[in-house]
């Protein structure tokens, strides 16, 4: 036994108590040296003053470089025919109604049989029923339709609903609420199991080497197989080395198969001098097989209990010793054919209550000292005495534990170091030394997505090589490769960063499989969780076998990048570079190392999306090309660019390198699709058959039509090829009827509310229309009107200084301000306003008509719009300006006339009414654009409306007066406008004023 112990260990804190550090991220395995210590500080005396201290870190930067030989894993066995592929989508416990529906539908006899019997005599499906038997013929369609996905609302039936209300709580054998809660519970458990199931811990794949030689080796692969993983296969595998040392595996003819009663969860092997012992664990039984001298394996013993087994391990020390543990907490030493010897039983978890029945046992350096572990830690137990336990590992006592950390797997690394144990938690892997309990010799953060429940340890092949530990996860299939050295004279040190190996589910992206439905089937198959893995190392090659839940076996081979091959390249990069599937490849290159041809190759790879392999493998199997390949990888020598330029003729060569891989996969796919095609396909949707309809149509087509169609097709193709247009005239299609453009819609014809609104919104006045309709702008209008009037009054009062005692001012006293009087004053005020006022009078009149009175303001508005449009049409702004100027010049003298105070009132009235507009309006007119006038006009509407009643009540007094008072020319024009407006809108009734 190796008794040496490292002279110095790396410094560590030792904290006792529950860990309180929460995991923040899963990248903690990178970028840290963990600890350093000076390696030769004490030798300084001998070396002298110039001696420089050397330090060593616990995590070293460089390790062995292992590179993939192929971009994807290779299938080892054809896909199993009856394998059940379960959906990998996570189960949602809240989906229980769906599950219940399925149960009621497809297991109706279980769900309803009792009540169905009782109710049998009261219901019938027959047509001739007696009086007290109810016919259910109507429900046939409903029941039939349940097989399809359909609209629940559209297909609901009143009768069914009635029956449901009447019978739903009594018709089921298991009461619905009870079934619901149980189902929910079960689904919750299932989804947890899907995330992580401890059953498969250890893995159901093993390998027994029989002999090894220079030329090759012979061994036996042991794996579980079958649709339910309920077969144990012992399969001879011959390993041969090619000239360059690449290993190839040849399967023997037929495996030796043992059928089990349940799924095999774990396979453990022990290899002794002339025999091999294999233990297989299923849920409730364990079996032991012995293989003597490569003969047929023979079953030796089977044990069965009522408690689930959680662990079985074959002793590495003594043949015929197996240790088993069950979920009750009991651990036994099992000697086949002799029986079990219980050495430990725990009711609870070791150190704290982790609420987990999982137990594990393994051996240690002493054949009678065993490791007993559960989720909280691991203890060394001496089976010869009752109370001899020592802590090996404990969550909380081991430094740098995280809160929530649990032991996932314990493995004795006897083949690497007699005192070392590997302890996996969901965050980290620890190498523990039995001699220093609780303090890890080494710790990695393995950064895996799912807890590593499979593991494999490979001892170094030579002194210079590192020890390898591989970790495998179930759900994500990921496999990590960790390397470390030390443990004897030197303290343990990790070698290089963690490396992730290929996993089966990522293979499709590197393969040529183009049809989407086939891709989906294959992906689903490949996504199934891992059931175990196994690794073999010989010389510079590392082969890793994967077993998935569907009993498919894949393997991959890695090659050690030795110094000899990397001498030419200054920096040995990985030989296989899987191209990133996303992202701009050009950006991924370092500028200094940019190699034009390298970039070319990558962009070319992008341009051809369906190129079968998106990987550039630079390790060639041919030893002659080896140097070249390594140089290519290094990107260093630019003169080498021709060698790696894969464009043109070299590219197919690159692909051809993996043609054999593609061919193997093609065969595998063929098997897979043949199997899946055999399976019956259940339609989920009601299918409508259209074949007969098509037949009918083709029969009716005559030959001429057919000819025409073929010619049309040809034309179309021709046109598409030339990127032209296909004009109807060129074809032989029947002429198209020229449709008349429909007449424009006249809003007049649609006086109803909706049409008006539409018309308004079409013009863009929708908002104002609504405001008018709802009377929202009433206050604003009133305010506007008031302001206007005030302004006018001010203007008038200014002029009144000269025209004292005028008639107009005496008439329009402030108290009797009304819409109408304002209208008159406006009329008097300006030329423009006279126009408007004349229109206003029109409106008044129009409004006063009984048939229009009760109508909504829409009509009115439209009317006004028309009026204003006409007005605008009649008086162009320019002309109006002209008129104003003329008039103002005319009125100048009259103003001077006004200066003298004397004069008859009548004359002044006349003068005032004529001259006053001339005084004010030109000034104002110039400033107010036409549009605003219109607005004014519109805004004053409600008041004018309100005043109509008054004015009509007055018996048309004001109107004639206004007309009387108005000067001739404006009134004439106003009447012109009026007549024109009347022409556009015919009026039956004559105006009241005339």
């Amino acid at each position: 036994m190796d008794g040496t112990f490292p002279h110095q260990l790396f410094p560590h804190f030792y904290l006792d108590g529950p860990p309180d550090v929460k995991p923040k991220h899963c990248y903690s395995g990178w970028g840290t040296y963990e600890r350093v210590f000076p390696v030769n500080a004490e030798q300084c005396d001998d070396e002298g003053a110039l001696y420089r201290h050397k330090f060593e870190s616990q995590h070293t930067v460089r390790g062995e470089e292992w590179v993939q030989l192929k971009p994807a894993v290779t299938p080892f066995t054809p896909p199993h025919k009856d394998a059940k592929v379960y959906s990998t989508d996570p189960l949602d416990p809240l989906d229980f109604p769906e599950q219940m529906k399925y149960y009621y539908q497809h297991h109706c006899m279980d769900a309803f049989s009792t009540m169905g019997r009782l109710l049998e005599e009261n219901f019938t499906y027959k047509s001739n029923q007696s009086k007290d038997v109810m016919s259910l013929r109507w429900s046939k369609d409903f029941v039939k339709g349940l097989n399809y996905k359909r609209c629940e609302l559209g297909k609901s039936s009143r009768k069914v609903r009635h029956i449901h209300r009447l019978l739903s709580d009594i018709v089921t054998d298991v009461p619905q609420p009870l079934l619901c809660s149980l189902l929910h519970e079960e689904l919750t458990y299932q989804s947890e199991q899907q995330q992580f199931s401890a059953d498969a811990t250890g893995g159901a794949l093993g390998f027994l080497p029989f002999y090894e030689s220079e030329k090759g080796s012979d061994g036996c692969l042991i794996y579980s197989s079958g649709a339910l993983m309920d077969k144990i296969c012992f399969h001879r595998v011959a390993q041969e080395y090619k000239d360059d040392g690449t290993p190839t595996f040849n399967m023997g003819s037929e495996p030796v198969v043992f059928n089990l009663n349940a799924a095999a969860r774990q396979i453990s092997c022990g290899n002794y001098e002339n025999s091999v012992h294999v233990a297989v664990r299923s849920d409730y039984f364990c079996g032991a097989w012995f293989v003597f001298d490569k003969l047929k394996p023979s079953l030796v013993d089977v044990i069965q209990t009522k408690q689930r087994f959680s662990c079985v391990t074959v002793s590495p020390h003594l043949p015929g010793e197996i240790v088993v543990a069950n979920e009750q907490g009991a651990a036994y030493l099992w000697t086949p054919k002799k029986g079990l010897q219980k050495f430990r039983e725990e009711d609870a978890n070791l150190y704290f209550n982790a609420k987990s029945p999982w137990r594990w046992c393994d051996f240690s350096c002493h054949p009678r000292v065993l490791v007993y572990a559960d989720r909280t830690g691991a203890e060394l137990t001496d089976i010869r005495s009752a109370d001899c336990n020592h802590t090996l590992f404990r969550i909380g006592k081991t430094p740098a534990c995280l809160s929530g950390e649990r032991v996932i797997l314990v493995k004795y690394l006897g083949n690497i170091h007699p005192h070392h144990h590997l302890i996996n938690t969901q965050f980290s892997s620890y190498i523990m030394d039995e001699r220093v309990p609780s303090i890890p010799m080494l710790k990695w953060d393995h950064m895996m997505d799912f807890p590593p429940i499979y593991t494999c340890a490979l001892p170094p092949k030579s002194q210079s090589q590192s020890c390898k530990v591989l970790l495998g996860a179930q759900r994500s299939q990921e496999i990590m490769l960790l390397q470390y050295t030390g443990g004897r004279q030197h303290a343990c040190q990790t070698q290089g960063p963690i490396q992730k190996l290929l996993c089966p589910k990522d293979s499709l992206s590197h393969l040529n499989l183009q049809l989407p439905h086939k891709r989906r089937i294959a992906q689903k198959r490949l996504n199934s969780p891992a059931a175990g893995f196994m690794a073999l190392q010989n010389k510079d090659y590392l082969s890793v076998f994967h077993l998935t839940d569907t009993a498919d076996i894949f393997y991959q081979t890695l090659k050690l990048q030795t110094d000899q091959t990397t001498t030419d390249a200054q920096d040995p990069e990985q030989a296989v570079r899987v191209e990133p599937t996303v992202g701009d490849n050009e950006n991924l290159q370092l500028q200094t190392n940019d190699n034009i041809s390298e970039n070319d190759s990558e962009t070319e790879g992008q341009q051809v999306p369906l190129s079968p392999l998106k990987v550039i493998d630079n390790v060639d199997n041919d030893p002659l090309n080896n140097l070249d390949a390594n140089e290519n990888v290094s990107n260093e020598p630019p003169n080498n660019s021709t060698g790696i330029n894969p464009s043109g003729s070299t590219k197919p060569l690159k692909q051809s390198k993996y043609l054999d891989l593609q061919r193997i996969w093609d065969v595998w796919f063929d098997y897979l699709f043949k199997n899946s095609a055999d399976k019956k396909w259940l339609p989920q949707f009601r299918r409508i058959y259209t074949a007969d309809i098509k037949c009918l149509r083709t029969n009716k087509q005559d030959k001429l039509e057919e000819d025409r169609l073929t010619r049309l097709r040809k034309d179309l193709q021709e046109v598409m090829r030339n990127r032209d247009l296909l004009v109807h005239g060129v074809t032989y299609l029947p002429h198209l009827n020229v449709e008349q453009i429909p007449d424009p819609v006249d809003p007049e014809d649609w006086p109803d509310d909706v049409s008006q609104r539409m018309a308004a919104s079409w013009e863009g006045n929708w908002k104002s229309w609504w405001e008018d309709k709802l009377g929202l702008n009433r206050d604003k209008k009133i305010a506007n009107l008031r302001q206007k009037r005030r302004r006018e009054k001010q203007a008038r009062s200014r002029s009144r200084t000269s025209l004292s005692g005028s008639f107009a001012s005496s008439v329009s006293n402030p108290d009797s301000l009304s819409g109408w009087s304002s209208a008159t004053s406006q009329y008097l005020g300006s030329d423009e306003e006279t126009l408007e006022n004349s229109q206003a009078t029109d409106i008044e009149e129009w409004k006063s008509r009984p048939e229009n009175r009760n109508k909504s303001p829409i009509l009115l508005r439209r009317f006004l719009n028309e009026q204003s449009v006409e007005k605008e049409a009649v008086i162009s702004p320019l002309r109006r300006l002209e008129q104003e100027l003329m008039r103002s010049s005319k009125s100048q003298p009259s103003l001077q006339v006004k200066q003298p105070t004397s004069g008859t009132p009548k004359a002044t009235v006349e003068k005032d009414s004529v001259d006053h507009p001339g005084l004010v309006s030109p000034l104002r007119k110039l400033s107010i654009p036409l549009k605003r006038c219109k607005e004014f006009y519109l805004s004053s509407l409600p008041t004018s409306q309100a005043s109509t009643q008054d004015s009509t009540a007055d018996g048309g007094f004001s109107v004639p007066q206004a007309r009387l008072l108005s000067p001739a020319a404006p009134s004439q024009r106003a009447s012109q406008i009026r007549s024109s407006s009347q022409a556009s809108q015919p009026k039956k009734k004559s105006r009241m004023g005339f």
Binding site: G3, G31, F37, K500, N587
Partner: protein, 316 residues
């Protein structure tokens, strides 16, 4: 809020990046934009920024796990922009830690990386937020030590030792303790150098400079080895110094505490050091045997058991 900030930030980052890349970091190219959907207005929205970052980190992780370092550089240079999202302080410190870890690992595996690159990365990331300061300082010091820059490492350590930031520095107490311990260790190493350089001269113990180093180192080392844990290098240096100054009693006390204190984890080396110390100082045979007996109960397979056998044979 977040969206707007992110939106603004990403615009800034891109501007910064293009300038920075061209000016300073010639080796890193423009950031990769992954699955970026640009809105009609031409902005990146916050949600895309986050999605993009997450995707980028995933790809970065995959590339690093498969040891595709060149590819990882591209993703890393894009992922740096996450630092600009200053929405959450705690989140930022996590991002800074991730960046530091991934960044150093990538730098380790790239050709033509210089020490300046490492220094720049450590210096910049330790000052993003304050939560990682001690941790990154310590790792920086390790890096310098491994590359033989002991003076620089000493300087970094003393900076980290004097760093105070209220409660934050207290919460990093473990790494602060380690920083002090390594300070002491470096003091010892300097003392050791001085010792060997002055060894020709006779008045060794009266050398003042050496004595000051001894004082500093012994105080800090004494502190650290009184805490429960495994402190092999520290204990060895401490004992070595005390032996030199003929303070055997305190050395023995320290070794016995290290070996026999119940709070300490059982460490075979502690017993080995004690035994070797006793042997050096001609301790009585019984004492040697009892020391080895205790070691025997812990590690029956230890090399020193042969010596125990010889001792026992001699006595009987």
């Amino acid at each position: 809020m977040d969206d707007i900030e992110a939106e603004l930030n990403i615009a800034e980052t891109h501007a910064d990046f293009t300038q920075d890349e061209s000016e300073h970091r010639q080796r890193l190219k423009r950031p990769v934009q992954l699955h970026c959907q640009v809105k009609d207005r031409g902005f990146f929205t916050g949600i895309y920024f986050l999605k993009c970052n997450r995707k980028c980190l995933e790809l970065l992780r995959e590339a690093m796990l498969h040891h595709r370092w060149q590819e990882a550089v591209g993703y890393f240079s894009s992922y740096i922009q996450t630092l600009e999202a200053k929405t959450y302080n705690s989140y930022q410190s996590v991002v800074a830690e991730i960046l530091w870890r991934l960044g150093t690992e990538i730098l380790h595996h790239l050709p033509n990386t210089s020490n300046e690159d490492f220094n720049a990365l450590y210096e910049q990331l330790k000052n993003v937020g304050v939560l990682n300061f001690s941790k990154i300082s310590l790792e920086h010091c390790y890096h310098l030590l491994l590359n033989g820059q002991m003076d620089e490492a000493k300087r970094q350590l003393s900076i980290a030792e004097s760093w105070r930031y209220g409660r934050v520095s207290r919460s990093q107490s473990l790494s602060k303790t380690l920083i002090t311990a390594y300070c002491g260790l470096l003091d010892y190493l300097i003392w050791n150098e001085k010792k060997s350089s002055v060894s020709e001269n006779e008045e060794l113990s009266s050398n003042h400079e050496m004595h000051s180093y001894f004082r500093q180192a012994s105080v800090t080392l004494k502190d650290i080895i009184s805490l429960p844990g495994i402190w092999d290098p520290f204990v060895l240096s401490y004992v070595n110094m005390l032996e030199f100054y003929k303070q055997e009693e305190s050395a023995l006390q320290a070794l016995e505490n290290y070996a026999y204190n119940k709070e300490f984890p059982s460490n075979p080396n502690a017993h080995v050091y004690l035994y070797q110390f006793l042997k050096r100082h001609d301790a009585p045979r019984e004492k040697l045997i009892s020391t080895l007996r205790i070691l025997h109960s812990l590690v029956p397979s230890h090399e020193l058991m042969l010596e125990l056998c010889n001792l026992l044979l001699d006595t009987s």
